[in-house]
């Protein structure tokens, strides 16, 4: 992503920019000037203006955004990073685009559907302060949690909670194409009131006979609303067996980490091949607590260090030590937090991959120390 090899042209450009503007990107020099004229203008990133905010459920809102002209569009199921200034400090979070690519192409807007995380730093602020007229920064869309390019067999979608957002976008996109293949959705939420896009999905399933909807509430729900013949409650082999009956081409899973693990285990038990499962990670997996010797993380540029026997991510440890390294998505996507590890071994909490002991660039938001580590922060 960031490790493209520098070419002679790019090295020359960055040398000129450093000479004339004291920054590798000339745009950094002009950014504040340009923003002072119109906050929608930017020479370094895409901007978007909030057009409208809609309530979806008690704790979920949909934000309608109009991206600036430099935004390049998306495929249903992709996500973007949105950066907002909260009391002077820039905060970045990642959300799936919940609208249709056609809506952006024809009407120039996209929507993000955001569930409020209690005690969160960003989502409660968004619910309260991100009002029509506000300008935010957005990244280009990215992600490979998208529909297959050649659709010939049926599809199964399994979602939990706010994990519905990319799947809703894909389903609506399929409906817009007149549902070329049969598809089923297993959607799990706590209660009947927690189904985000519940009414939209029910409308789609009424209109499209080739779309099978199963709304499943953990508290039992009311059969009348869910229209599902499957048992209510938590995800089980019954649910999986029912949707696999149609011999799907691909199964898409989106939801919290434990939910995805459970769904994958149930799919494996039914003999569904791993390589036909696509999943979208929402948030970091819980860090397994490694009992044992305490580790020390030292921050060489700041002359600070911290020692603990229950290390979190390096970013959290730096912040707990009073440092303020730049950070973005906090889930290993945006590389804003990338910094140089001088020595020590770290584990990537997403992939479980263990690093070498050598000096290398790492993303501190998704790595946790497994030995003493020195960071150039």
């Amino acid at each position: 992503m960031e490790s493209t090899k520098p070419t002679l042209a790019s090295l020359t450009r960055s040398w000129f920019n450093l000479s004339l503007f004291n920054s590798r990107r000339a745009g950094d020099y002009f950014e504040y000037l340009v923003q002072g004229i119109d906050p929608m203008w930017s020479v370094t990133e895409c901007r978007a203006r909030v057009l409208e905010v809609r309530d979806e459920t008690a704790d979920t809102k949909t934000f309608v955004l109009r991206p600036s002209a430099s935004w390049k569009g998306f495929q249903a199921g992709q996500h973007l990073h949105i950066s907002m200034e909260i009391n002077g400090a820039r905060q970045t979070r990642t959300f799936t685009i919940s609208s249709l690519p056609q809506e952006w192409e024809q009407q120039g807007f996209i929507t993000l559907t955001v569930k409020k995380v209690p005690d969160g730093r960003v989502t409660p602020w968004m619910h309260e302060h991100l009002i029509p007229g506000t300008v935010v920064s957005i990244s280009q869309a990215s992600g490979d949690f998208v529909l297959p390019t050649d659709l010939n067999e049926s599809l199964v979608f399994i979602a939990a909670g706010s994990g519905i957002t990319p799947i809703a976008s894909m389903l609506r996109s399929l409906v817009a194409r007149n549902m070329p293949v049969p598809s089923s959705l297993l959607y799990f939420a706590r209660t009947d009131q927690d189904f985000i896009f519940g009414d939209t999905l029910q409308g789609l399933s009424r209109a499209m006979s080739r779309f099978n909807l199963h709304l499943i509430a953990a508290d039992g729900g009311s059969k009348k609303k869910s229209r599902s013949t499957l048992p209510q409650g938590f995800i089980s082999a019954d649910h999986i067996r029912a949707v696999l009956a149609g011999e799907p081409q691909t199964v898409y899973i989106c939801g919290p980490h434990p939910f995805r693990e459970l769904a994958k285990q149930l799919l494996a038990e039914q003999g569904f091949p791993q390589n036909r499962i696509r999943e979208e990670a929402f948030g970091l997996p819980p860090l397994p607590r490694t009992e044992g010797a305490p580790v020390t993380v030292s921050f060489s540029r700041s002359n600070a260090s911290t020692t603990t026997d229950q290390p979190g991510t390096l970013l959290e440890m730096a912040e707990q030590s009073g440092l303020k390294p730049t950070s973005g998505c906090r889930m290993g996507i945006c590389y804003t937090c990338k910094c140089t590890k001088k020595s020590g071994q770290v584990r990537n909490v997403i992939t479980g991959e263990i690093s070498s002991n050598d000096e290398e660039d790492i993303q501190i938001c998704v790595t946790t120390p497994i030995s003493n580590v020195e960071l150039a922060i």
Partner: protein, 379 residues
């Protein structure tokens, strides 16, 4: 200034106490230091908790003004054919360079705006319009100078290894003309700062290690090369036949910035009554003692808001040394509290008008041109 024959045993007996212009100072009690630590920590925490939109808006506005000044300055220098617009251009470019170095660069590199989480003004990335490499600056200034402030033989910013500002530095006949070095250092200040980490004084002492300094020299040459390219090749070449006019204008702006920045910085630690400390005195010092040393080792000057902004708020050097990572434009509002704490604990809050402080710097440079023996004769 004479050496007290029988100094009060409570008074510090090390030589600089009597010889450097240090005010008589008594060793602070543990209670005093603990109280200083508690009160100043609380003050710092209250400001940190209050940081927000106001500070973000402030620094971005300053950056906008700086950009406009630089663009205006370079445009005027480029297109001027008579002295007045040319001098206006030089003035605008000087102001831009001063703002970039002082209110923006120095402060951003202290991490004062890191909490904004904006890579453009984060200490890890920021670079400035001066010959000094940013990483070298962070090592010599942020770490060395701010940690070991005014500890003789440890804080190399005290006299920049060029000026003798205390009798602890041995006298040598060449010291008698140090006012000339002072003038040269002021004139070429950006190069003095750029070369600071070279520790050239070690050549004199015979402990210079070229191998160890190679990474620094490489980084320094890279950065210096870019600065020379910008001001003396690129922009002059854009003007074609008026190459030398633009090079002259840029050189004048660099000179103005050098003189201004050096004056501000000298007023922060070289004024008559800024105190020096010995290594023994500061061994295993508490945070309270660190605060105490910062307060006595720094000096402020008064002035209007424009002067404060153009000095990067280093006019509040005492507040800056106590809280180097608090956005500098906040120093004005906390200075009454700092002064109150200072005075309540019987510590001297060193402030005076700018001209007076600068005069006392010159006085100190002249005074220590002479060895103490000779000074006594002339006194």
């Amino acid at each position: 200034m004479t050496i007290a024959a029988n100094p009060n045993p409570e008074q510090l007996q090390h030589a600089p106490g009597a010889l450097t212009g240090n005010l008589p100072r008594t060793r602070p009690s543990k209670e005093t230091l603990d109280a200083l630590q508690k009160e100043l920590d609380e003050l710092r925490d209250s400001i940190r908790a209050d940081l927000g939109q106001r500070d973000a808006d402030y620094i971005r506005n300053i950056i906008r003004i700086q950009r406009l000044c630089e663009i205006a300055g370079r445009t005027l220098i480029h297109f001027s054919f008579t002295p007045i617009p040319f001098l206006l251009g030089v003035t605008a470019l000087s102001v831009a360079k001063i703002m970039d170095n002082m209110e923006i660069g120095h402060n951003v590199m202290h991490g004062q705006y890191d909490w904004m989480n904006d890579p453009k003004i984060h200490s890890a990335n920021f670079d400035w319009d001066t010959a000094c490499d940013n990483k070298s600056w962070m090592r010599t200034h942020n770490f060395e100078h701010h940690t070991f402030t005014n500890i003789l033989n440890k804080d190399r910013d005290f006299g920049y290894a060029v000026l003798r500002l205390s009798d602890d530095t041995p006298w040598h006949p060449l010291r008698s003309i140090q006012i000339i070095y002072f003038g040269l250092l002021s004139t070429f200040f950006q190069w003095g700062v750029a070369l600071h980490e070279l520790e050239f004084e070690k050549v004199r002492e015979g402990t210079f290690d070229l191998e160890e300094k190679k990474p620094f020299i490489k980084a320094m040459l890279k950065k210096a090369g870019r600065q020379v390219f910008k001001d003396y090749i690129f922009f002059p070449a854009l003007a074609g036949p008026f190459f030398w006019k633009v090079a002259l204008g840029n050189g004048m702006a660099n000179l103005a910035r050098n003189l201004w920045a050096s004056s501000i910085i000298f007023c922060g630690h070289f004024t008559e009554h800024t105190q020096t400390f010995t290594e023994e005195e500061c061994e295993n010092e508490s945070r309270g003692h660190w605060y105490y040393r910062q307060m006595l080792g720094s000096s402020n000057f008064d002035g209007n808001r424009l002067l404060h902004i153009m000095s990067g708020h280093l006019s509040y050097q005492i507040e800056h040394h106590l809280f180097p990572d608090i956005p500098a434009h906040r120093y004005a509002e906390i200075s009454p509290q700092v002064r109150e704490i200072c005075e309540r604990h019987g510590l001297h809050y060193n402030t005076a008008p700018f001209a007076k402080q600068y005069g006392s710097v010159i006085k100190r440079v002249l005074k220590f041109s002479l060895p103490s023996s000779l000074r006594k004769l002339t006194a």
